[in-house]
């Protein structure tokens, strides 16, 4: 025992002599005196104010970068709090060994937030991965619905989706062209369909083929009805959106050419029930009876592909 103490003392003196007299990056020093009680109170106040935000940020960063958020950032922060408390109690390196003022100590902790977060990561690694392994084992024994019940939302990173968003904007435009084609092809007066197509700016061979299919009966009448209903609804929904200018023009032009008032298009919502009364009308045995009620309405269930 005596030998051990001597070796430790020797190590401490070695470390002390190795430390530069000035400069922030000192080698590890022996523990210093414990901070006075009144100062400790001041220290904890400053710790919460100065150091904790930096520590929380570092813990979140380490959790994300090293564990894909598997390690709880809150657990890491709590681990650091406890470690700081232990260091304070012992006057320990690397924060309290040289009797810093409460302000200095809090600032040091803020500066060393990444080191503390790394300590927390190492301290919690084993328990975290054990827990994850237990969870994985538990999950593998769960039924489909039990596993789905345990799923929760994780938002995707927007910055990773930039290219996807460009793709989608391009498709949105293509879909709008398709919608315009369908609006023309499903126009209720067959003789007006080509004029509508011209007004809507869909006059290519592909669009012409769709109109021809509608005229020859290749597209069935009830499919055309649904197409008409859907396209008008789509146009109405786009009209509500921010990029409505073009469609406002289109619908205005339609009104001029054919006297088809935009309001008429807007009124055609597909005839789907839209009120609480219909919801309330479905009582017990509801799954089937609800459907029966809707079938009686007759506008949406018939003739779908």
């Amino acid at each position: 025992m005596g030998n051990t103490t001597n070796r430790l003392d020797g190590l401490k003196s070695k470390l002390t002599s190795a430390a530069p007299e000035t400069g922030a990056k000192a080698a590890r020093s022996p523990d210093g005196p414990v901070m006075a009680a009144a100062e400790q109170e001041e220290f904890w106040r400053l710790y919460a104010k100065v150091a904790m935000p930096a520590i929380e940020r570092s813990c979140r960063g380490f959790s994300r970068a090293l564990t894909d958020n598997a390690m709880s950032a809150e657990d890491m922060t709590a681990w650091v709090d406890e470690r700081v408390w232990k260091m304070l109690r012992k006057g320990a390196w690397p924060v309290f060994h040289d009797s810093p003022s409460p302000q200095e100590a809090a600032e040091r902790l803020a500066q060393k937030s990444k080191l503390l977060a790394r300590w927390a990561y190492m301290g919690l690694s084993r328990s975290t991965w054990r827990r994850k392994a237990r969870e994985a084992k538990y999950l593998s024994g769960m039924s489909r619905s039990e596993r789905l019940a345990a799923v929760s939302s994780t938002p995707a990173d927007l910055e990773r989706m930039d290219e996807v968003h460009e793709d989608l904007e391009r498709i949105r435009k293509a879909v709008s062209a398709k919608t315009r084609t369908q609006a023309a092809a499903s126009w209720h007066e067959p003789e007006d369909r080509r004029r509508i197509a011209m007004v809507l700016g869909v006059t290519g061979p592909g669009e012409e083929a769709v109109i021809a299919r509608a005229e020859t009966g290749e597209i069935k009448a009830n499919t055309l009805d649904q197409m008409r209903s859907r396209t008008r609804k789509e146009i109405r929904s786009i009209l509500k959106g921010p990029g409505a200018t073009v469609l406002v023009l289109i619908v205005s032009m339609l009104a001029l050419v054919l006297g088809a008032a935009p309001a008429q298009a807007g009124e055609q919502t597909g005839g789907r029930p839209g009120g609480r009364a219909e919801v309330g009308a479905v009582k017990s045995g509801a799954i089937m009876s609800g459907h029966a009620l809707l079938a009686r309405e007759g506008e949406q269930t018939g003739g779908r592909p």
Partner: protein, 220 residues
């Protein structure tokens, strides 16, 4: 762009963005709907009949309790009925009820859920382009939602936008934190059988599924 062809099997899964925010009755209905989807998919008529009856009872209770004090009962009641109809295989009825719910949606989250569900059901009804429309509306409301992107990727694929669909899976694959147990992405990879059919045409999805399969194999 060539139209993709695939058989649309009866597989739908229901997840909640935050399961702890649901009432006990809502959680029970979600579980029952997931079980009913599974029973219908497997052709287990006895289980399906029992679950339909259970769900009908729960829906009545839900409606009579003013949607278990949901802050927006006008949205919640038709939304839950739509979930149940969908699980029972009555897709058209589910679409109509979800549209009723959509009209009463009071928050972006409610709009996102209803529009996403409408996209999914349009796919099941064989109307891929309508699904794409709903997907775009859902994306406007919630561009970061993983289930919306996954449903959208399926809709785009079925509407013939194969490379764009692949790009979505590529982007999702670049986010490793989504590839772990308990996320919406891995729930879809595990249980959405349509993705297994699509992987033949989509290299990024194939890679994503392969990575997830090897992660799971290592975990066992």
């Amino acid at each position: 762009m060539s139209p993709a062809t695939t058989t649309t099997t009866h597989t739908t899964l229901i997840t909640a963005p935050n399961p702890t925010n649901m009432s006990a009755l809502e959680a029970a209905m979600m579980d029952a709907c997931n079980q009913l989807h599974e029973a219908v998919g497997q052709g287990d008529d006895d289980a399906a009949l029992r679950l339909r009856s259970d769900l009908a009872e729960m829906l009545d209770r839900y409606e009579h309790s003013n949607a278990d004090d949901h802050p927006n009962a006008d949205w919640a009641v038709p939304h839950q009925r739509a979930l149940a109809l969908s699980a029972a295989g009555e897709v058209e009825g589910a679409i109509v009820y979800e549209e009723i719910a959509l009209e009463h949606a009071g928050t972006d989250r409610q709009r996102e859920i209803s529009l996403g569900n409408l996209a999914d059901r349009s796919i099941r009804a064989g109307r891929a382009e309508q699904a794409v429309e709903y997907f775009f509306r859902a994306r406007d409301v919630s561009p970061r939602s993983v289930p919306i992107m996954l449903t959208g990727a399926q809709a785009l694929y079925l509407a013939g936008y194969v490379s764009e669909s692949n790009r979505i899976f590529q982007a999702l694959g670049a986010m490793p934190r989504l590839l772990r147990e308990g996320t919406e992405l891995t729930a879809y990879l595990d249980f959405e059988t349509r993705l297994q059919e699509m992987r033949l045409d989509l290299p990024a999805l194939d890679e994503l599924l392969g990575r997830w399969e090897s992660i799971r194999a290592e975990g066992v």
